[in-house]
């Protein structure tokens, strides 16, 4: 058998491709996430879509929808491994840090799909005021998503090992994610209102540094979660 020099990238990409193939064939997390966000969006649009809302309110609505859809989707990455019993084979073949990294990338990709589907639909159904800085909006949404998935992946692992009760993840994640949510809602509001990159510089810096801190802490803590 050809044995190459072991590269961490190979293992992480193997886990990501495997999860993508699995998701493509079963579409569990994807449907749950998209249906949830669509239902919420439709409800919101139906009831208050006709009013001209302040940009801050729009941004808050976007992130409420994204947050709760993300909670239902991110839960799945570790829970489905636990439920089907494949976590044992995974633990024997890869270290905890590698598993975590693979799941982190996969979760980020899932959330990117969410934003790609949801944001245009939001524009169509809710009519936020024109004059928003689109590029900045997309940029801040993506940065917010990165921080969201970075913080939630470890907690998803904790919830999966704790018996994967469905409602546990939002309870655990909310206090940890609050700094991110506050910053990103404020930033999205400014971007929707047509602000420039200058005003959002501190927000970006904060989100990126939060991402680094949270991913480092997760990498340090994940072996204790995956143990036993």
């Amino acid at each position: 058998m050809v044995k190459t020099s072991f590269s961490w990238i190979n293992a992480v990409s193997a886990i990501v491709t495997k999860d993508l193939i699995d998701e493509f064939r079963t579409r569990h997390a994807l449907t749950a996430m998209i249906l949830f966000s669509l239902t919420t969006l439709v409800t919101v649009s139906f009831t208050i879509g006709i009013y001209a809302l302040d940009v801050m309110l729009h941004s808050a609505l976007i992130w409420i929808i994204v947050f709760f859809s993300a909670m239902s989707a991110l839960n799945r990455s570790f829970t489905k491994e636990e439920d089907s019993g494949t976590i044992l084979a995974l633990k024997m073949s890869a270290t905890a840090e590698t598993i975590y990294s693979g799941k982190l990338v996969f979760n980020t990709l899932l959330l990117l799909v969410l934003i790609v589907v949801m944001l245009p639909l939001y524009y169509v159904m809710m009519n936020p005021p024109s004059g928003s800085n689109i590029a900045l909006l997309i940029l801040i949404c993506i940065t917010g998503l990165l921080s969201l998935s970075g913080a939630t992946t470890l907690l998803a692992a904790v919830v999966a090992r704790a018996g994967s009760r469905g409602s546990l993840l939002p309870v655990l994640a909310f206090p940890v994610l609050l700094p991110v949510l506050l910053t990103v809602i404020r930033g999205t509001g400014i971007a929707l209102g047509g602000g420039s990159g200058e005003e959002l510089k501190t927000d970006f810096l904060f989100l990126l540094s939060y991402l680094v801190i949270v991913v480092t802490a997760s990498l340090l803590l994940i072996p204790y979660v995956m143990e036993d």
Partner: protein, 271 residues
């Protein structure tokens, strides 16, 4: 009066400073040790290939010393001392609940012992948990492979995790060995339990492990499957350390060359 106020205030601030610096240094020390461990495990991956070729079963020594395992005040076993021997078929047996599967999990590092130790050495170098896992092949009823992936995708995935890229020929060879040649491209959801068991065997021996742990290898298998298991065990007896855990008296008779009999713990329940 003024002096006593500033003295109290100064003392409070000093105490706060001391507490803060203690906590900070403890955190730093903790983070440093963890970073060190992470660094070690990452460099281990580079060295693992060298290790792969060198770690061979016959030179592996396992010493189990006064091992005990307790779950939530329920004692699974209290004091086991054993030495599995290379070149022979080592067998662990006992009634239900005596801890056979637990012992296997403890050996390959999936769980930590409550007391006692397991030392696995190769050429007098003690192997760490991640090194042990890399050279172990495990088959248990708890193990499951990915239902929505085909047999080929499963095998390729686990091989890639270990850093190897097998050719088509090698893949087919191993599946022929376990008798699954025709089902290489079917998803595991359509496999019967016997076929799944055979795939588990293929998964365990694909990377030619130096330590082969088989927990009830004959479950769900028909006669042909049992012949497959027999041939695997005979083949690996000489080049790896083989430890089997089983209930079946037939298997004990057939394979048992170095047998450990676990008694059901009599003081199992405690308040």
């Amino acid at each position: 009066m003024q002096m006593s106020i500033s003295f109290q205030y100064g003392k409070k601030v000093t105490i706060l400073k001391i507490q803060y610096s203690i906590i900070l240094s403890a955190l730093r020390a903790g983070i440093n040790t963890r970073l060190e461990q992470v660094r070690q495990s990452l460099t281990l991956f580079k060295g693992s290939i060298k290790m792969y070729y060198n770690v061979k079963g016959p030179f592996m020594k396992i010493t189990i010393n006064k091992l005990a395992k307790i779950y939530n005040s329920k004692k699974v076993f209290s004091s086991i001392s054993w030495q599995p021997e290379p070149g022979k078929c080592n067998l662990v047996t006992g009634p239900n609940g005596s801890g056979k599967s637990t012992l296997l999990r403890l050996i390959c590092g999936l769980e930590k012992p409550s007391a006692g130790s397991i030392k696995i050495t190769f050429n007098n170098d003690e192997l760490s948990v991640s090194e042990i896992r890399k050279v172990t092949g495990l088959v248990t009823p708890d193990l499951a492979l990915y239902r929505h992936l085909t047999a080929r995708e499963n095998m390729l995935f686990f091989a890639k995790l270990g850093g190897s890229f097998p050719t088509e020929k090698e893949l087919c060879e191993i599946l022929v060995k376990v008798g699954l040649a025709g089902s290489i491209d079917y998803p595991l959801a359509v496999f019967s339990t016997g076929m799944k068991q055979r795939l588990k065997l293929a998964y365990a021996i694909f990377h030619e492990p130096a330590l082969l742990l088989l927990d009830e290898p004959n479950t769900n298998l028909d006669d042909e499957g049992k012949i497959v298991v027999n041939s695997i065990i005979s083949e690996y007896k000489s080049k790896s350390m083989v430890i089997i855990a089983t209930n079946d008296q037939e298997e004990v008779r057939q394979y048992g060359e170095n047998i450990l009999f676990l008694d059901k713990c009599s003081k199992c329940n405690s308040n």
